[in-house]
Symmetry: C3
Subunit: 350 residues, 3 copies
């Protein structure tokens, strides 16, 4: 399977320097590209690698046109990373034989469900009463959609996704295997040393163009709904508690935990393994570093971090032991400063 | 779907101030309650919101009866949060059309399994040899119960729960989608640079009234069993290692990890993302803050924390750099104190 | 079900001190062993428990032969822990009635899939086009294998494992329930405030003798493959990002997150809940403590840690508050040192 460079530029634009009939067999990173590969150079920082890569063609910004064309073919475009993203999408479409739209005979579809004509339903799927699935949506094998779930047009549920009753997923979303949308939020009232369950009566509403990674969980709201706005990107193994609100185009890396009723703004990024405590508010444009714990609302856009720096274990042990006395160290420093101050005053007395 | 206030008080008690035929269509938070909504005010701290909420009726403690009844209907009860919890349960029962008990024709049930007469078994469920399921239990679509699993009466397994062979789940439990009970514990003996698997021969025993969140994992014991006692509440994406023992009515928030052979007491709470290392012991009534790492046994009840405070990134960078020299700072402080001490002694010499 | 001591030594070696017809009904920990149990003592550190255990027989190193044989039967072997690991494997084989190899009639197997003759395929399994499954492999109920997946001989997929198209799993691997191999890596290009998906065109290649815990996720590579080498052991709920490379015999405890393009050497151990950031390199023989965050490459073997020490909450609060001023404390200390230095110089002036 190969594509000529000319067909790529025809589909995606950019200026081709070189022969349009050059055959590309693979998209590859600069470092492992071979003579049949197309690679990209996102920024002049990587210019040094242009001389050594074996790639047949490079996607480069205008500033690298000279260096790239000296060594061979190139596609010049203003944003090579964006061009590359679109190229991966085109490449996948070209190389994927889409299965014919089909409702697999083993699927259990409730008679009141409304499926648009060209949806694709995999083996052993279970679809509840009143479910509505939009045109072109694909529901992978082993998915379970509870009663009255809605799935928008062109959305892809990979195999083994669970969407609980009354939850909705927008258009052009991608939910990966193991995702659970609409499990009960974690709500219990304490009573005589035990916990009394608060039934979770809300649902989950997911916007358009949302991607959700494998085994990520989004709980239904207690009374109101949990809301994920358009364009949000969630990586794998993320926990979103009940009544959380995630603003548009916010992205979270793997293993993040967001506790109940937190409100996260639009255009935020949350690093892997970070934790956001409950009922907090993060403004638009807040960026939280990996493994940081957000313990207070962050009302100004900016970059926030809280993470113990890693060190060799022996050094860490000493510093960690001192850390447990840090407040005492501060008090001792204050006393030393006072003693110095006192001594200086005595010395300057006549 | 609506219910008159009178029917609520009839079912759940409390003193109704106002017209019993007032129709309630929704349970709602104070802030988003509308004219058809019932809301609750758990404590006088929220008294200020009483004046502004649009709710048709408020559940309040006796101390707020005056303020609440001035603005409209109210239900007076000693513990509004508990009342609200029970109300959500009643509301859900009233509004849920329970499916008729049924064994779905696609379920694969081993002929030696013993199912009480009124159990409900979903589509594509797989039930192994010697399984026993108690009266009124519901096993959601796509659940897999290994050989000799026991499930107690009234327990609900949501779709796609896996319970491994010989594990048992008590009565009135709720296991959410993606839960894995009884995967192998993580046990390997090192040998010549490789790892030799220690087969995990124990099982998992889960008590009554236990709730387990989506995609949470509880591993089987190596020789003895992993034990979760009555009334334990586990949120989503929690890892419980082999041979862990969790005491009654302990609650853990999402993304907690408990390593093998840890023993956690009764009535504990573990915050989201916290880690408990292996072979440690936590007394009854230990409360661990979110994202804290328990590296030693905590033998006294109390509240424990260990978490790097979040800050703007630039400030964090400076403090984190200093932290890596903290032990050196302590030594320098000691030297300064000695110098001051020496100077003072010299000054007081005759 | 019981086995005489003699049959154990016959199968696994070691020197038996005691009667070969002693019946063993259970493998047990020292502390809970009963009169029918076989237990092991890995090291002289546990010698004190030899006197009090009720076990019928002990597996001991040569140095404990005397103490053990005084109280009853024992098996003497150079590495009791390794012996015990092999004993658990033998015990499981002896006690497990393997189901006959079978392709369950409900499984949906693509006609182009190649299954070795003695594979076992569970209920509701879905096997795509061009899949190849090696001899003796077992595919549990509800597994989904995408097109062109390869599974090696003797590998066990527990119920409900998903392996995405073109991914491969080696020989003698064990994948536990809920594992997702080959979901899309988390790759998006920013564009005008939104995220443009980078299709993930690589796959996942898993070596031989790899164990993967419940609900762990391993993402497919963006262009090249994500690679897990032979003998790697991954616990539950671990996230492995795209293009990560994990070296042979490395082990990771539960809830670890490894971000994209990280390269982890051979023979490493990563503690529970640790995070490894993207594009970093860890040398062979690097050991990372639980809950530590690897923010820079670790190019030398060794033991590394970064974790806030836990304390009672009140003490933590004081130390955490001081920590936020640590850089300021360092500056104040410098000033105090300068003042002392100055004072000493003045005092020593003639």
């Amino acid at each position: 399977m190969s594509r000529p460079l000319g067909s790529i530029v025809e589909a995606l634009g950019g200026e081709l320097v070189g022969a349009p009939d050059t055959a590309i067999q693979r998209l590859a990173p600069l470092a492992t590209a071979e003579l049949d590969s197309l690679a990209f150079v996102a920024s002049p920082r990587y210019a040094a690698q242009i001389a050594t890569t074996r790639a047949a063609c490079l996607i480069v910004p205008p500033s690298l046109r000279g260096a790239a064309s000296e060594r061979g073919a190139c596609i010049v475009t203003s944003d090579p990373y964006l061009y590359f993203a679109r190229l991966t999408q085109w490449w996948k479409r070209e190389h994927t034989a889409e299965p014919p739209e089909d409702i697999h005979p083993t699927a259990v579809v409730h008679p009141t469900a409304e499926l648009a004509q060209d949806v694709d339903i995999g083996a052993f799927v279970v679809i509840g009463a009143g479910v509505r699935i939009g045109a072109g949506a694909r529901v992978g094998a082993h998915c379970v959609l509870g009663d009255h779930v809605q799935v928008g047009t062109q959305t892809v549920l990979h195999p083994r996704v669970t969407v609980g009753e009354r939850c909705s997923v927008g258009e052009r979303c991608v939910l990966h295997s193991g995702v659970v949308v609409g499990a009960d939020g974690f709500g219990f009232a304490p009573h005589q040393g035990a916990w009394i369950k608060i039934e979770q009566l809300g649902a989950v509403r997911i916007g358009n163009d949302v991607d959700i990674g494998a085994n990520t969980c989004i709980d239904r709201g207690a009374l109101d709904d949990t809301v994920i706005e358009d364009g949000v990107k969630l990586d794998n193994l993320i926990q979103i508690g009940h009544n959380v609100h995630v603003g548009a185009h916010t992205a979270m890396a793997g293993c993040v935990g967001v506790a109940g009723s937190a409100t996260i703004g639009a255009g935020c990024t949350i690093g892997g393994g970070a934790v956001v405590l409950g009922h907090l508010k993060l403004a638009d444009g807040v960026h939280v570093s990996a493994a940081s714990v957000v313990t207070r609302s962050l009302l100004k856009p900016g970059h926030y971090t809280g993470m113990f720096p890693i060190d060799d274990n022996a050094t860490w042990e000493k510093n960690a032991a001192s850390l447990k006395q840090l407040n005492r160290i501060r008090e001792r420093l204050k006393a030393a400063e006072n003693a110095i101050e006192q001594a200086l005053q005595n010395n300057t007395k006549p």
